[in-house]
Amino acid sequence: MGNTQTIKLQDTAVEATQRLTGKEAIIKCLLAEGVDTLYGYPGGAIMPVYDELYKYQDKLHHVLTRHEQGATHAAQGYARVSGKVGVAIATSGPGATNLITGIADAQIDSTPMVCITGQVASHLLGSDAFQETDIIGISTPVTKWNYQITKASEIPEVLAKAFYIAKSGRPGPVLIDITKDAQFEEFDFAYKKCKAVRSYKPVPKLNPDSVKAAADLINNAKKPMIVWGQGVILGKAEEEFKAVVEKSGVPAAWTILGVSAIPTDHPLNVGMVGMHGNYGPNVLTNECDVLIAIGMRFDDRVTGNLETYAKQAKVIHFEIDPAEVNKNVEADIAVLGNSKETLAALLPLLEEKQHTDWHNRFKELYQIEYDKIIKNDITPEKEGLTMGEVLEGINKVSKGDAVIVSDVGQHQMIACRYAKFNKSKSNVTSGGLGTMGFALPAAIGAKMGAPNRPVVAIIGDGGYQMTIQELGTIFQTKVPVKIVVLNNDFLGMVRQWQQLFFDRRYASTELINPDFVAIAKGYFIEAKSVSKREDLAGAISEMLAAEGPYFLEVKVEKEDNVFPMIPTGASVSDIRLE
């Protein structure tokens, strides 16, 4: 394509202008977008902006993480609990490339995030200058949008567009790369919020016919089932969703990003679908006559083998992103639009139903799962501690009011299975990308995004050590996050697969771990380790009662497995209980 960098003017109305440098303009833009907290790490090419951050300390809280990856996960945690755009900032070269894991995570989990990176001066672009990297090229496949600014005059419009794109429609990460000379350059600054971008249609137009067709199918169904995802939360449609579920009487199951949209204890909430989800909703996916997918994308961890997934059912897909419809599962009816709008349109067309017999099927299967698995997970009689009883212990004290931030692996599946939630936006986890090391920095952002709620990070001993340096951020900011490491001295999920599918050949999964309590104490964080059942409840209470940050290591059974389990390539109805 040509060399022209065309920025389309969204609105020609110009507000009062003032003469500013690019670096100061960046701060003004962030403030205009309502940003109060950002996460980052300084370096050469972004130093001018940091110089401005120094001047604006009273208005913008910059959190110095210990690694740029931590900055992105913290921004994600902040965004996920607050519903606002998370902001991360880094320098050029390695600073920018270190953001990539968090950006990819935000892309696949639809998290609104704006990343700002410094770049070498524009006359040095392409010269292999010190700390120069093509971050636009590198970040393209994992961003919703990205753009390189080489002139200060581009700053207001591009940043306004960045925030608009990040949070509108199906949210996602945006990266803006700003050359150092553009940060110094003076120009006439005026800010105008972005309200539309030509060529970008964030929310498809609602088609009333599709809503009507969906309602007819639901009203005539004998065994309907809902599977909802994060789209309910991102669409701020919790109320509408609850009303739809209650009026239609349809059993509703969730994906791990959808959980907490309605309370765990809601009588129509039948649990989790997917690889380590609940027995009932997985098995009955292949028995229902109408499958109503709401704001979820039929990830392979949810569907198992697609060839045998819900083949008997008519599928209704409520979705904001047209590219998701028919991507993995053919929809008989697609209802495009924002979930808040589509569910509100659906509600009046629904007939009131109970589906009592059908609900009893879920209850029967739950009882089987309870007797075989859940009972032993949350109230074990064996000597070793289980991950499930730790979650159950946290539930007892938090009463479901805590934000639970989990990492990736066995502890994550246990946390999602057993954590109780009363409020929406309470489960923060790396779902799509499966990023180990996510939880500790994400918990920092989550606590800052929801300062009045307890935030508990549940992390495995493997993932914890991938971003353990963020204990420094916790110490420095005194952010009162509660950190629970469920330590089995193994990369537990990989070990479980090795046990089940690789004849117990435990290749590189056993960890010789350090003294985690000593490390936490090295950062002056209150810390305790528990290995006996009689000490567990007291330690959890002490942790949740502590005013500041707290680290709790729980030494759990080394070789426990997470069940139920749908082995890769198997059908959801072939879910294994042992």
Binding site: N3, T140, P141, I165, S199, K201, D321, P322, A323
Partner: protein, 175 residues
């Protein structure tokens, strides 16, 4: 599985740096080979058009179109079979001028292929031919016998038989 076929993907976009990268990445990620790619201005001022030829099943083409349209700076993407479009490629041959006078057969080939001589000088002449791939391939084979100094062929360019309502679409975006 349905059969693979040749499809022409037409993408109307904003004219921004980096968009080529973003678009090609969608094909690359799914390991889809791009048979030919052309970018140009379109019938609308400020709107670019990508013309991409791929060999794929229709099911997969549809998914690729969905991913393309999802990009912020993509206005609209279409896919068409060969029957649904008018398309051609163009090519240039650079050949020694001596041959034009020494080999009578070359003059006949040029005439029959309705190729056009763009320029002639003492050392070489340049022949331009627009048409279907098969016509260009035939001309290439015929001229190869005499020796080709340089050859280049463009990507496919095409217009669809059906209307592409880009202008009204742009008006809708502005709503």
């Amino acid at each position: 599985m349905s059969e693979t076929k040749t499809y022409t993907v037409s993408i109307y976009t904003e004219n921004n740096v980096g968009l080529l990268n973003r678009i090609s990445a969608i094909f690359q990620r799914r390991k889809i080979n791009i048979e030919s790619l052309n970018t140009s201005i379109s019938e609308i001022e400020g709107v670019s058009k990508f013309t991409i030829v791929i060999n794929l099943t229709e099911d997969r083409v549809k998914k690729v179109i969905g991913q393309l349209e999802k990009q912020v700076e993509v206005i609209k993407a279409y896919y068409h079979t060969d029957e649904e479009t008018i398309f051609l490629e163009t090519c240039l041959f650079k050949i020694k001028s001596d041959l034009l006078f020494e080999e009578r057969q070359i003059q006949n080939i040029i005439k029959e292929s309705s190729a056009r001589i763009v320029t002639v000088n003492k050392e070489f002449f340049v022949l331009e031919k627009a048409g279907r791939r098969s016509e260009i391939d035939l001309l290439y084979r015929e001229l190869s016998a005499f020796g080709i100094m340089q050859f280049t062929r463009s990507g496919r360019i095409s217009v669809s038989k059906e209307e592409m309502k880009i202008s009204s679409m742009l008006a809708e975006f502005a709503e």
